[in-house]
Symmetry: C2
Subunit: 471 residues, 2 copies
């Protein structure tokens, strides 16, 4: 392949390949303060596509967006004991404001449960105010000592949903609706990444949650990436912040809550689940440029014809870019578009035009075939649909091939060096998770015997542990 | 009016009216850290409409969105002398991160010129890389001692555009394109607020700019609100951050730059430019709920008929909400919708249905008229169009009535107690601006003699100063 020398190969050094592709596809770069990240225009345009798709689904679930402050009084975090213990080591603290030392230092939000629940306590009076379903798109800060672009950064972008319900059942049902109807569907249908949905063990739970539900994807190096979580918070924050309502019988009750989020980490998932040695391979549903129309050489009307084709494709509803930069070599531009992962490339040159054709290249398969000029729009649409399915199928097949059933902690550790291990959770016993962690692996989630989302009432020891190394 | 007792009247106490309406229309409330703000779901839905409209226009101008870090090394700010002097008193400083004292404190961005230009220096090599047009939607922090929701808050949301060009002319042309084609048009066509576009005096310039262009609106108390600014930055940041390019002749040149922004301050403008003693009056183009269909009583099929009407209006492309909360009194719900400023209300009750009618109420005029049921969609669309124009015309007439031409600083101060004064800028002489400031007024901008945007080449003393008290 023309572009094989642009990136370190995945086989040779996967982390280095990741670093290369994030830089060369112009997705992101490090900021001057350790662990911070600049999301470059091309990377951000992918994130904007993700935001639009997720936001539409969140609103369809009846949730309203709002915005809560970046700065949280230190004392708020201390109100929920497990929460503050979980986040204290990662906090950024503002001690000076407006040229003066602050009386009480303020924390830059690592997550917003505390400050949002302070508002919820004011907004909720009666059962009529429930459920209260709120989301915000925001930046959060968790000080990161071993940063990695998109995967672990001191500042990252995310959405965090926060809800309050009248009963534990309502809260659980909503946490699971978000997990399945928003997250799993978005990840599989839009990002073309098959994910395992399950519950976290107590050790891996969110600090302050009673149950954490998660979605875990397999990257092309066999490691797991936690892609989104949905937490049942029980009544812990409700008690800490005094969030009560009068029920229909006039009795005061504490609410039951959930919180849930996905972040710019999904950008890392997209890169590592589909990318190959030539660069990104973007699923058409998320690609900012779905079809690039490339002018091979502009002679003999090729430039005009390409421009007309680009307009035709755009009119047919595809996201199209015309690349007429014929002062840059054709090969170099091809390498660039392969790096950026545009799913379909239409190459238009004088020689093709003589035959009444253009060349259609699918990025996912690296296939090239001639297409009659009057069928380009139709063929491009078909190719986009096919690429969306093919990327999902490939990722699923890859995960299945790299997943093995094991019957002990040692074999699980061995299997986790190259993929996922499915281990009956009862075999973990008391020291199993520690043993896994010491070997660099962990229980990513607990699933049912057929690897689907488990019933909430099933005891953990009756479930199957998905063991893997993780990002 | 039924709702006259809900709010303090504007006549009685305008600032108090503002505070009341922001709270009671559920737009926003103060956060726990002084000066911070919670933007509630209804307020945020208006901001989302603004964002969508502005973002579309920014992209149409060829600008790409990106994201730059929240945290800026303190040393970056010091690189541009005027810039650091302007922002130092307002900074929030992080001194602790991850449980340790930081070697170099980091500043929470008050604006992003410095950190963005550090990236620009890496991205720009050749004239082919120019113009570089980038925007970000972000939160920024400027420590605020006298906070006021939306108008002056310690943290606010905004978009900040940053561009680099090959020549001063290109930079100026782009700064003015943003001002006129994006800001002025958005403010007048969408927010229905007529604005004066002009240039700032040296005293009012942005810290680090060579020229600041501004848009100033008049609020209903006669005070000015700066609604958006577009700065020519010259080559100051280019020199401070080493942003150079090789021109077509192979010579190294510094770029010429612009930056420009609008913020959640626009929410305050929307409230104060149109609101009345019953609450908000939202221009239809920005209203999250354009038409509310109100079930008066649900008997005799009124509930079903109202629901069908709401669907019909939504299918016709209007943003509609059905209010069937008949367990709350009709009057109370009307007061609520007037507070929230929904432009058109369709009231459906059993008595109206017997006559084959519904009642159409325009929020801007407080008129109510019967409409045949089969013409509701048509009439609602007409009413929305009419309300959009009427709000603009009313605001323009109000500004014209409250603007007077004066020929001295003293009369300008006098006129500014109730509106705008137009003063030949030559009459300000050396001490004029100080005298205005001491009296609580200021030069909002310099405009041409006919109050339009002045030609950049006209000397300030040949222009007209718009003098007003300002938010």
């Amino acid at each position: 392949m023309a572009s094989s020398s642009v990136l370190t190969s995945q086989e040779e050094d996967f982390p280095r390949w990741y670093q290369d592709v994030v830089a060369k596809a112009e997705l992101a770069e490090g900021g001057p303060v350790r662990g911070t990240m600049v999301i470059r225009p091309y990377g951000y345009s992918i994130w904007e596509q993700m935001q639009a798709e997720i936001d539409r689904r969140i609103k369809a679930a009846g949730v309203s967006n709002a915005y809560f402050p970046l700065f949280i009084p230190e004392s708020y975090l201390r109100r929920e004991a497990e929460h503050v213990e979980g986040f204290s080591p990662e906090l950024a603290v503002v001690t000076h404001g407006g040229g003066k030392v602050l009386e009480e230092p303020v924390v830059v939000r690592p997550t917003s449960e505390t400050i949002i629940n302070a508002s919820f306590a004011k907004w909720i009076q009666s059962y009529r105010d429930l459920p209260l379903l709120v989301n915000q798109w925001a930046n959060v800060v968790r000080w990161e000592l071993r940063p990695r672009l998109f995967l672990r950064t001191t500042e990252f972008l995310w959405q965090e949903g926060h809800t309050a319900h009248a009963s534990e059942d309502d809260a659980r049902a909503f946490a699971l609706e978000v997990l399945e109807s928003i997250y799993v569907r978005f990840m599989s249908e839009v990002l073309a990444i098959p994910v395992l949905a399950g519950r976290k063990t107590d050790r891996e739970r969110f600090a302050g949650a009673t149950t954490t539900w998660t979605t875990e994807g397999m990257m092309r190096d066999g490691k797991a990436l936690q892609m989104g979580t949905s937490h049942e918070l029980g009544q812990g924050f409700a008690r800490a912040f005094g969030i009560t309502y009068l029920d229909e019988g006039g009795l005061e009750q504490h609410v039951w809550q959930t919180s849930w989020g996905v972040s710019t980490r999904l950008m890392g998932a997209l890169v590592m689940a589909h990318g190959d040695d030539a660069g990104l391979r973007l699923p058409p549903a998320i690609a900012p440029v779905q079809v690039v129309v490339l002018v091979v050489r502009s002679e003999d009307g090729a430039g005009d014809r390409a421009a007309a084709l680009a307009r035709e494709l755009a009119d047919a509803g595809m996201r199209v870019e015309l690349d007429a930069r014929t002062d840059t070599s054709f090969g170099r531009r091809v390498v660039g578009w392969e790096l950026k992962g545009a799913p379909v490339r239409i190459e238009v040159g004088p020689r093709d035009l003589l035959k009444g054709e253009a060349q259609l290249v699918r990025r996912d398969l690296s296939t090239k075939e001639p297409v009659p000029l009057d069928q380009v729009a139709h063929s491009a649409r078909q190719a986009l649909d096919a690429a969306q399915s093919a990327l999902y199928d490939e990722a699923l097949a890859r995960r299945q091939a790299a997943t093995s059933e094991v019957t002990g902690v040692e074999p699980a550790i061995e299997a986790a060096t190259s993929g996922f291990a499915l281990l009956p959770a009862g075999l973990l016993r008391s020291g199993g998770e520690t043993q896994l962690n010491e070997a660099g692996a962990s229980v990513r989630c607990l699933v049912s015997a057929d690897s689907t989302l488990p019933d909430p009432s099933t005891p953990p020891e009756d479930l199957t542990a998905v063991v893997a190394r993780a990002y």
